[in-house]
């Protein structure tokens, strides 16, 4: 294990990747292993753990284990989609701003300032109030929150790379700007740009899960760890597993991502500090 995978040698990297693999397996393979349908009523509501239902049943009498196995996909999927969209938007704007050295720069800086004037969750809630609840609003909203910070980093990295010989050579060969950006610039800025992808992904999970918990995301009966917590927490004294199991899954997932991100950042000699404002990770 040399070079890129060096981070796996550190304890936090190894533990982080281990945890992450387990959670991803549960989330994506779990649905095939679930003993019951996530929406089927299999017994009395809120009965405790038994052989039939190892984690008991929820407030409607559905199997907690099956809902747990089905409930990871949407949390991780939505967070992944939001992070990917944020990078797509952020990279595009950052590349254009950095390469063309245009007026986009001050506009970007001010946009980040404005985003910083909001608690990120507040921004998403306002958006949901206006447009209604949907997966699209969640994904796009989170991407809008993350994109300005990404584009600032991309812009700085692009400006540094744009003056290098290989870029000038490509320009001299007569390549068009899109080709120059994609073939020469992008491969050379990926490392600094992607170093805190873990931070942004955790942030996406946090905020997607929080919105779902607040009842402003996915609609029941869809099974989702955050939704499970919010629908069962009133009855926590009757079957505590119905709340603690999904809560533990979310906690393990975000801790795994952060441990991995921390290890990767350290192996690249960078610092990794999850932001407390839980939001716009600025350059």
């Amino acid at each position: 294990m040399t070079g890129r995978l060096r981070f796996l040698r550190t304890p936090s990297g190894a533990i982080g990747i281990g945890i992450l693999t387990c959670v991803l397996l549960v989330a994506f393979v779990g649905p095939y292993l679930a003993p019951h349908s996530p929406t089927a009523v299999i017994g009395a509501p809120l009965s405790g753990a038994s052989g039939h239902a190892p984690l008991g049943t929820d407030f409607l009498g559905r199997d907690v284990l099956s809902r747990l196995l089905y409930g990871g996909r949407s949390v991780i999927g939505l967070a992944l989609a939001a992070t990917a969209l944020a990078y797509l938007i952020g990279m595009t704007i950052g590349l254009i701003a950095g390469y063309s050295r245009s007026v986009v720069d001050p506009i970007l800086m001010r946009t980040v300032d404005v985003m910083l004037a909001f608690p990120p969750l507040l921004f998403l809630l306002v958006l949901i109030a206006g447009t209604g609840q949907s997966r699209t609003v969640m994904v796009v909203g989170v991407a809008i929150i993350l994109a300005p910070g990404i584009s600032r980093i991309v812009r700085t990295a692009t400006q540094e790379v744009a003056v290098r010989g290989y870029v000038e050579a490509a320009v001299a060969r007569g390549e068009r700007p899109p080709a120059v950006l994609l073939r020469e610039v992008v491969p050379n800025i990926l490392a600094p740009v992607l170093v805190d992808v873990g931070l942004r992904f955790t942030f996406s999970i946090l905020i997607v899960a929080s919105v779902n918990f607040l009842g402003l995301g996915l609609q029941p009966p869809s099974s989702n760890w955050a939704v499970m917590i919010s629908e069962n927490r009133q009855y926590i004294s009757l079957n505590w597993l119905s709340v603690v199991a999904p809560a533990a899954m979310i906690a393990i997932l975000t801790i795994g991502v952060n441990l991995t991100g921390d290890a990767i950042a350290r192996s690249l000699g960078r610092s990794y500090t999850p932001s407390t404002t839980r939001g716009v990770v600025t350059a």
């Binding site: 909001f118 608690p119 507040l122 306002v126 109030a129 926590i236 975000t254 407390t276 404002t277 839980r278």
Partner: protein
Amino acid sequence: MTALAERRAIERRSVSPVVGFLGRRLLGALAALLAASVLIFAAVQVLPGNAASAVLGRDATPQAIQILSKQMGLDRPAVTRYFDWLGGFVHGDLGVSSVALAQGQHTTVSSLISSPLKNSAILAGLAALLMIPLSLGLGALAAIRAGKPTDHVISIGSLVSISAPEFVTGSLLVALFFVGLHWLPPVAIVPPGADPLATPKELILPVVTLLFASLAAGIRMVRAGMYEALQTEYVQAARLNGLAEKRVLIRYALRNALAPSVQVLAQNLQYLVGGVIVVETVFAYPGIGSQLVSAVQNRDLTAVQSIAMLIAVVYVLINVLADLIVMLLIPKLREPA
């Protein structure tokens, strides 16, 4: 630059760099807030089409929508409505709840949020009061014990606690302290008009949940600053002079580690402003955050708009205040760059 121009520049700056800085910072904050207000207004009122039908829901008759549109003033152009709202907001008029209007009542948003606002201030204030000494203490402790088990426990613990969303931490705390140990109540319901401080036991879990997420970054920052300060020559010199270790740590190291930490502590205060949104909902605490969430659920658009703006104002003011404190703490920043 000629000598004269240089002297003028120095004179101009030396009038009062702090006032100049504060002025620029306030102007910037004002601009950001203006942009934020446009954004909030656009998101709530312009994006989806008719706000009145959003308030009334899917089954509303066209007549009902028309009547409510008129009551909400939606027949006027968006720009006029924006300036009316903003003008009212600046004068303390937060508008009339759209949901109440739909039910034929005239409830002002201000009357809806006056008591929740106080409750939230108490909750966030308590968390802030505990957060600052705790992050200084634990951060300094981790730095003093750098590389030892105490340091590892604090560092890993802070990474873990910052990782989990508030509603997860809150739910796990409820499972432990209510279901498991029967020590603390699972909710913090405060009757309207009552003082939350009258039932302090109910406040413990919400405050601890807020602390979990906000302490971590503070601890990490104080640790880094303190660790650096402990390696400096002035700390060595103080030790070699035979000063008591306690005095060296507090007077020499911690004091110098403090300045960079202020920014992070301020970010944490800002976080508290947003963090109450989820934490209040978890514990059914009647604050501004849970009020906002229920306004979003009911699609009470006027309330959402005004509460969101109010939170943004507090958020930005904390930021300005933090910059000012940093400036006063670090003399170097007061000199022109």
